[in-house]
Amino acid sequence: MSGAPIWIGAAHCVSALGEGPRFHLQRMRDGGTALRTVPGLTAKPMFAGLIPDELLPAGPRRIQRLLDRCLLELLDDLKPRPHERWLLVVATTKGDIAAMEQGDAAASALPLLGEHARQRCGFGAQPLVVSLACASGTAAFILACSAIEQDRYDHAIVIGADALSRFVLEGFASLYALDAVPCRPFDAHRAGTTLGEACAAVAISRDRDRIPEVIGRWVAGSIAHDANHISGPSRTGEGLLRAVQNALRIADLRASDIAAVNAHGTGTAYNDAMESIAFERCGLSDAPLSGYKGWFGHTLGAAGLLETIVAVQALREGTVLRTLGLSEPGVPGRVNAISADAAVPGRMLLKTSSGFGGCNAAVIIEAES
């Protein structure tokens, strides 16, 4: 394994909130939620984070338009050269599930989304398409950084995307997992999540000069499973506890070294309770903790990357952004969930994601000053 630093930069993102990491940060500091009732997608209108159509390039498939929005800008920044060792990692939960809704099951196969991205990038190597439920984006990031650490590649593009669909909205509604108002992570009155769509991408490299605008340095990451329940998280946070503790162990860090925690924070009763218990068990009770889904919704396969990008950008400026929708903390574990933007002195971010199937992913990134 190589001990050389791995740099993260060239971040791009598009969500219901708008386009670009800086614009996200500005909107999250100064504005309100982008979650709106979305008519026409489902039998009963629901709150969701829908990307304005004019932000997306033209194209026949919405999920491809999301990918293209970030990829084309990223490639313009990076201009990968044929002799370089680039890896492409794509994260998604449902890819082009709209094709299944339209009766074309074969076109919904997730590897096709990877192939679309590969062709856009002009890479020869097969892309890695990660599908690990709502931990897909975070897991893809871990896999890409690990592949560089293993000296299999020198650089990587990691991109996560999921589009809103009736398929997924109705599914979450059937589980009574959607709040009637924009989600309120870690709040005592939270009643479910709110879904959104997004695409987020970063470049990763062992060569700091190869990627524009470095935002952080990869420290460590880990994935773990609850081995408990398919659709509900462990009540004791077993998987998340293991993922965080293993990431800390690999990084040779203590919990007290973490400056801020960006949680999965869906706004469902069980997820937020589980996270609070796991973080307390990890010794992270005092670290400022926030979840960002109140702004742009739970963006599924893009969530881990999108939230990491924004959290790292905020930490670069010495702040942790508040959890929108949180007014009265109400989770069983002792955590420092913040409802107002806070200044923090450190730069070490812990980002976590959890998903159906009991999967959990944790990454540690040092934000670049």
Partner: protein
């Protein structure tokens, strides 16, 4: 030896430790059930799981049986690596058909519309708390799995259940290996690819 054991399933024919069981009767679900019943494992949850999960549970079961390749290993350090092309497409189609025809979203059918649910089922069955990931690819490729195998090793996994599972409509196919990571090297990838190619 880094590949400690392997299994394969192909539309009713299940092979483990050189023993082959074949059932050509019935549809894909009935053939899968027949293969499972032949193992004589009392685990009713198998029959309630989605098709991809059942394929993975069947494929990995011999590794965890008494004297199986992973029976004596610490479940905390057994990782999971699943590659698939169709993923949860069978579950997607079932859920979508009900949503389209009846206007009803079934929570029981919705949850398995994620391929990684199969990893969740496997982790529950054998108490595996370790790392694991699901990779979507058009065909099984051992070389494409190499970075993920390395990642699992980095995260402290000592053994992995690793393989290909694919199912949609009448088709169900798998090829899995129990791998010891301590002695694993990229030079073993051709053995893993041979397993995929044979089945």
């Amino acid at each position: 030896m880094s590949i400690l054991a392997s299994t394969a399933y192909h539309d009713g024919a299940f092979t483990s430790a050189g023993v082959r069981f074949a059932c050509v009767d019935g549809d894909a679900d009935q053939r899968l059930a027949a293969a499972w019943n032949q193992l004589r494992i009392d685990y009713p949850r198998f029959h309630r799981a989605d098709r991809l999960s059942r394929l993975l549970l069947l494929s990995a079961a011999p590794f965890f049986e008494a004297n199986g390749a992973l029976a004596a290993c610490d479940p905390e350090t057994i990782g999971m690596l699943l590659c698939t092309c169709t993923g949860s497409m069978e579950s997607d189609a079932r859920y979508q058909a009900l949503l389209r025809d009846e206007g009803v979203a079934s929570p029981a059918l919705f949850v398995p519309t994620l391929p990684s649910i199969a990893l969740g089922e496997l982790s529950i069955r054998h108490g595996l708390h370790g790392s694991g990931v699901c990779l979507m690819m058009p065909a099984p490729s051992a070389s494409a799995l190499a970075p993920a195998i390395g990642m699992l090793k980095q995260q402290g996994m000592r053994h992995i259940v690793c393989g290909w599972a694919d199912t949609f409509a009448s088709h169900a196919r798998s090829a899995f290996a129990a791998i010891a990571l301590e002695t694993w090297a990229d030079t073993h990838l051709n053995q893993l690819q041979s397993l995929f190619d044979e089945h």
